[in-house]
Subunit: 205 residues, 2 copies
Amino acid sequence: MAARGGVRAEQRAQTRRVLLRESRRLFASRGYGAVGLAEIVRASGVTKGALYHHFDGKADLFRAVLEEAQQEVGRRVAEAAERHPDPWDQLTAGCREFLAASTDPELQRIMLVDGPAVLGWSEWRAMDEAASARHLTEALAELVAAGVVAPQPVAPLAHLLSGAMNEAALWLAADAGPGDLADTWAALERMLDALRATPAAAPRV
Amino acid sequence: MAARGGVRAEQRAQTRRVLLRESRRLFASRGYGAVGLAEIVRASGVTKGALYHHFDGKADLFRAVLEEAQQEVGRRVAEAAERHPDPWDQLTAGCREFLAASTDPELQRIMLVDGPAVLGWSEWRAMDEAASARHLTEALAELVAAGVVAPQPVAPLAHLLSGAMNEAALWLAADAGPGDLADTWAALERMLDALRATPAAAPRV
DNA sequence: CCTTTCGCGTACCATCGGTATGTCAAAACC
DNA sequence: GGTTTTGACATACCGATGGTACGCGAAAGG
């Protein structure tokens, strides 16, 4: 009579959720290298046998945590962008939301610091692209197609902007001055504005 | 009669140099986490006793390697900038040199990927600031003072640009398309140019 | 019922970073 | 120049870590 999937599958999903939640909390607070599997399974109320039944190892567990976090941020960015009809407003709103979301210290260390080091930059980049950076690339491509932004390869632009926002988020979370967020956003907005102020005076759409 | 410092100090310096050279090579090629102390000391022709006599541990050895690499890049950036009398040319030349230097795969993993994860972002940032990012901050401050760049806090700007260049360097080294470097530099130069195209039409110096 | 499956616990292992101590030659001293 | 001291290592060892092999017991399937 148990819920859909049987009591068996429910317990399995429950264990996996707890493992992800606790390891995410520990990885975020003390970093991947400083957290041992023993501590994770103790906090989760299970044993290493359970962990290795769900994941291929410590790095694979981290990968699952990272993917979850990235998709949360990607969803937030997409939702913020969708609230605006104009493509340009979608870009700026998405960037603003990304900056806000990435400043969360609970996500930051996992997404921006340990992610590339644990999985390697290429894999981290592919995951980030699939989850959130994709929205940036698509928004830029759309603006180029509409003539709002000067014709140019969007990939380099997307990487430059993505890197700029990642570093800015890390700085804001670490050195947290009162007006720093506003100053950073102002500087970033100037950079974005420069994209559409082309010498050929491209028409607004 | 031995050279300055005695045969004793010479041997010590030699051992330290070998340790730094081999660990740097191994860290660069396979990453901090995947390289064990046993492999480092074997490649260096010494034992763990020697390593722990020179460094406080694995992280401290990595710190020394990172510092060396960062100062090399910082020196290259400074030299490239000093070849130009005009402050604006100094900025662009420095950025261009940084991009070129950071694309080296031998330095990249240590400086941009493992650095923040092993030492923590704050310490990594402080070291990077002292070695190379300082030049960026100083150049921007000078341009603001000269009225070339619109008056604004330089710290957010420096972080945005630094992050943009770091990410671009990682992308270029990984996905290495033929025209990507030129495209990236063109996009970055447009960003920089936007800084001096202020609505108030600031005078060139 | 009886068998199979599978989610997980237990026991164990190799290797890791790190430490304590020994050793022997260069330096310092008288 | 003999003695003592210093210091740059090597050796031996330790606890903890990530990872593996295997056992168990309850749910799923017939």
